[in-house]
Symmetry: C2
Subunit: 290 residues, 2 copies
């Protein structure tokens, strides 16, 4: 599996991807899921991929070759929206080539991408591109996308991120989200590729590949568990007696009664009693005979 | 969907379930997923269910009626393992009755249960029972089971729980896990059914249904977000310059190079140049003609 997160903020973009792929737990591989495209000081794009690796590599190849798709490629587009259309068209081309053969093998055409960046004259933009080549764009209200094993690391993003979050805080948050995912799911693995793109820079000034020896990642991995522990400990325990009003837990719900406690059904009891009587009678008879 | 968590500890058991069911977002319902079985001071069982509601209700009905399954029901078993076998047999009975009709409709026979409790003379035990009626038991090494939407709330359980965790701390942790899930997935909903079973009590002394007005749940819901925020804030930010050694992030990985940055492919550039030359030539010709 895969876990990638892309965040679109006031000040720029954050991209983080793991590098583990698998086809069953006995076929683990290491493949990069992040690809970077740059043209002078005019445009900068990042692509992160999840899904069937043969499909996503084929899409990447079309884009890197600069094939013209309806007259466009990633180096001649006027804006990031048109670039997302180019990526979508590349997916459609791979679909046309491979989907029948995949169907015959019972394999889904599975390709889920995060694509974002900036074209001169525009703000940074971020897209989630689906298997059909269609896509949605991040907005100030929903400023991040995840692909792959997204659920473990979603709560922390939901609590911390908004459009005005500074890049450094968002980076920290993305790494915590990744660390939680790594901790709970072995199909996600180090190293991680991280790019923090600063608005209007048109370059990858903050780009790094993190493994277990990276001081910052190591610190997050160690400290986050402790911090979470401390946070849990600092919350008061439930007060079943209700003595502590703010943590009273035995307050019944308004619209729903308590869970019923089911005793042995009476029919069963009766049958059992009847069986017991019968047994006693039999025993008595046996005794009498003896 | 559903989220239920069951925890088996040194001092007893914790069971927590939500009450939302859905068949698409436009068919939301409220159904209890927790059922309790008690016999005097001899045995106490809790069943929590996820999957197809028609299936899980049918299983529950067989158990509540006390039907004999290979001569056993939940009120005459000698130990908790045999009780889990009874629950498994109930699933098999529903399967035999319904699976062909379900197959015709293209519906999976989906039934995933957490079942646990205590029989006099034994320690408390906890099982995860699958659609086939087979099951696994919790151990001191893996002391909890989740069913339904399990991923959002797994990281916090992984960080906090072990077999020696006190019941009150485990209860708090289960509620935080549930709150994180509720926050990130609308298919999980209040009220919650909570049972904290104390070892050798053979009764549901700590049983409550929590809604949004419950003081303890309300406090967790409000405070946990703040605590998480504070924990994130208390971790230092990445140092890209490397000035702060403990949070230096720009340290390259040992076995993997940096992500490549792809410029415009040279072939495309050449073609473009050729096209530009051609255009210039054409313009020149046009000019000459004009």
């Amino acid at each position: 599996m895969t876990y990638c997160v892309g965040i679109c903020l006031k000040d720029g973009l954050v991209f983080l991807s793991d590098t583990r792929t698998n086809a069953g737990v006995d076929q683990i591989g290491t493949f990069r899921k992040m690809t970077l495209f740059q043209k002078d000081k005019d445009l900068f794009f990042t692509l992160m991929s999840s899904g069937n690796l043969a499909i996503t590599q084929a899409v990447k190849e079309i884009l890197l070759q600069g094939q013209m798709l309806n007259g466009k490629n990633l180096w001649n587009v006027d804006n990031a929206h048109d670039a997302a259309v180019v990526v979508g068209d590349a997916i459609k081309q791979v679909y046309d080539r491979d989907h029948k053969a995949l169907e015959k093998q019972g394999i889904d055409f599975n390709c889920n991408l995060i694509f974002g960046g900036q074209v001169k004259g525009e703000r940074p933009r971020l897209f989630n591109i689906y298997s059909a080549g269609n896509f949605i764009e991040a907005t100030p209200e929903t400023c991040y996308f995840q692909i792959g094993e997204s659920k473990y690391g979603k709560p922390i993003l939901d609590r911390v991120l908004n459009f005005s979050t500074p890049l450094n805080l968002a980076t920290k948050c993305a790494l915590i989200s990744m660390d939680s995912t790594l901790n709970s799911n072995i199909s996600i693995g180090l190293p991680l590729d991280l790019l923090v793109y600063e608005k209007n820079s048109f370059k990858a000034s903050k780009l790094v590949t993190l493994d277990e020896s990276n001081p910052y990642y190591k610190m997050i991995h160690q400290v986050w568990g402790e911090k979470l522990w401390a946070a849990v400990n600092s919350i008061s325990e439930p007060s079943w007696s209700g003595a502590n009003k703010s943590s009273a837990i035995s307050v019944p719900a308004k619209k729903m009664g308590a869970v019923a406690i089911h005793g042995q059904p009476s029919k069963v009891r009766q049958k059992k009693a009847a069986a017991a009587t019968l047994a006693t009678t039999k025993k008595t008879i046996v005794k009498k005979k003896a």
